[in-house]
Amino acid sequence: MKELALYAMEILKGRGVDYADIRITRYNYESFIVQDLSPKLVNVEETYGFGIRVLYDGAWGFASSSRVDKKEIEKIAERALDIAKSSSMARGDFRVKLASEPVHVDKYLTPIEIDPFSIPVEEKLNLLLKINETMLKVKEIVKAISRMQFRRREQIFASTEDSLIETIIYTSNASYTAFAVGNNDTQTRSFQDYPLNAGYEHIKKLGLIENAERIAEEARMKLYAEEPDEEVLDLVLDPAHLSLTIHESVGHPTELDRVLGYEANFAGRSFATPEKLGKFRYGSPLVNFIADNTLSGGLATTGYDDEGVECQKWYIVKEGILVGYSTTREVAPLIGEVRSRGSARADNFYSFPINRIPNLYLAPGNEKATPEELIQDVKRGIYIEGRGSYSIDQMRLNFQFGGDLFYRIENGKKTKMLKNVIYQSITPEFWNSLDGLTDERFWEPRGFLTCGKGEPIQSAQMTNGAPYARFRKIRTGRGRR
């Protein structure tokens, strides 16, 4: 593989390109879905191929193939170059100039204890069947769906700048959902995704069986819960829930490509424009958003990104002020940054790397505080666990979120269960209303395996972690019309 990658670069160095790189990538996937007691998906998959990206006369071309040999590399290199030449006919006065990056010759491997692909298939499927059996024993549970996914990505990256990077990344995840029908209603409750770049040891630690009955019971209890009225209330949100709020209202708006208009046709643009950098109050002084692609177990912890930039740690929001973006080598120089933040990711060998959300988390509070202590200081509010409905406008301002489990807070205590709760806010107003955080003991690295962006759409993975947090005076209501 390494020789072929170097061969491709030798060809392109001789063709007068500004820059070129190649990724030779092998993905192995295992995917299991069990619905009730029926295994609906028992699939293993391997994708293997290479993509060559060429920058010629300030414009990009990209071509890929699943036939990995010398002859095909010659053909695809030529094709990528030809496409770059076509692009340069429609680049106007703009020329792509890449931020500089040191030459890296390195290897990176996700540290794992147990290779998830070494665990027998029947062991994994029996675990999922047992989860479903447990959930289906609970009254009014009509359906149970459980899932497991494992990924291994082996990649060689080489560039005309002589970087040569070999990486092997493992990702493991399991989740399940109970569906309850009764009281003229349908409700679900999930043991939600908690993916990490880790081995099967992560699955063993999740407590999948131990939580199955509770999850099913909570689904059933939701059938009989009250729906809220429209009201302005305080919220206490758990880390699983906040991971999505952070992803949508902080992660996406601070991707520099969309800030600069690259995604205007589909994923959208952003309110967090560069003139706000260093000045704009994104959140209250308690709010610190840290991007960290070196985070242990983080889904974007890959050693290097897909254009050979070393993974880094930096602030996006510091003490409430917008101070940074996620960037690629193309977009970083457009706001005067000298180095990319290493956020270029492609979802397979046949995809062009684009600017993605890094591992991004809300830092825990410095003062010792438990979730109960946050709740104690709420007269009337709602406590939300987990992710539910979610939607945000294309500039990332107006958002509406649901959740997976809700409790009324009255006079400092969690009281009745609620259902179908939604809340709506405007991004900076919401983060400025944050006035309480739990400390690091309650911080969790939740994350996403299927963050969609780009055209054609690509899927990316990243961790978005959080402690518990309290927000004041948020517009809440019921989801059902």
Partner: protein, 430 residues
Amino acid sequence: MKEVIAEKIIKESSGDETVVYFMSYNRHYTRFAENRITQNMARDVTEINIEVHFGTRKGSAATTSLNYEDIKNTLKRAEQIARHSPEDPEYVPPLEPVKIKNIERFYEETLNLTPENKALSLRKIFSSASRHGVKVAGLYTNGEREFAVYNSRGHEAYHKSSEVSFSITVQGEDSSGYTAFFDENIERLDLEKEYEGAFKKQELGKNPKEVEPGIYKVILEPVALSNLLLFLYMQMDARAADEGRSFFSGKIGKKIFNELVNLYIDPYSKVNPAIPFDGEGFPLGYINLIDRGVAKSLICDRYWAKKTGRKPTGRPFFFNMDDGQMDVEDLIKEVDRGILVTRFWYIRYVDQKSITVTGMTRDGTFMIEDGKIAYGTKNMRFNESVVNVLKNVLKLGKGKRVGVEYWGSGANYIPTALVSEFNFSSKTKF
């Protein structure tokens, strides 16, 4: 060649049953933004998925390699995983052979469009946009897809289609406009017309005004209505309805929508030809889902059909809704006060049982007053049940194909709809 590989694999398989799936994509994507090409990409991938059954145990393995040794190894992996899979109490055997009537959806000329051709025609649009002080962004795709299924019982399904899609957003200082096109034949695409359409919306929407949230009469253009209907269609599953998990539980035979609403599947339809079989090669025919507002049938897979004594429908991805004769301009004349929506964004379920969804307007939202577009509005969030939308249809206008990205390339055929009530719940800043 696919047939030969499939035959060899099926012969070599130790399984009681074997199914081989091929999905090939040969496409060229040109992305643009800020009045220049930003990504330009060729993708040529074939995925082979082999499913092996031992009794009621099933497993599958997939590869993107076309090397026969790799394909054989993939078969071995499928055999191995199937042997270790638990018995499936909902097992259904592969399909018996059945002939599938082909639909011609392949146009060689669509493939002949080169990256250079595309760059030259886009360059004209970029120049015009720059002259007018606006920015364009979009995606221009052409290519072909093949999908084939072969099984050990002798069933075969094969479909090849060409496709061209073009979408463009014109961004002005405080307004934007959007259009989208999908077809199999490049000759039906008028690039300038698409650009002009989006440009005009951007012009019309300048100096947008803030509108108070509330219930409004709306005109939903085909892209906007299609965005909503996808969430209705996902609920039209017979099993979910029978298990009490869906809005459609107990609704078959009942009038649930306005009588103008006819929703159906028909891959052989002239207005919207589509792949004539589903993901397992099941032949698709006409399925009457909603007839003059009455719920007639639901999508039903083979297992649930057998269990409940129904006829299976297959699992089609593309649907049509009957349209009307009126142009959008005629519909606008019918509105004393209301809002025209070009496109929705980020729609998600809020409550599946009532098919209540939320989302935002985007790229062309206008206030209509006294039968005319009065001004562009800032964007708004809605919380509304798709059921209510279809109950409250007043008139339907001309439809169009709205491209949908699934495993098969295709579109839904969707009208423009005038709807008496639509709930906008909050506003945003642009």
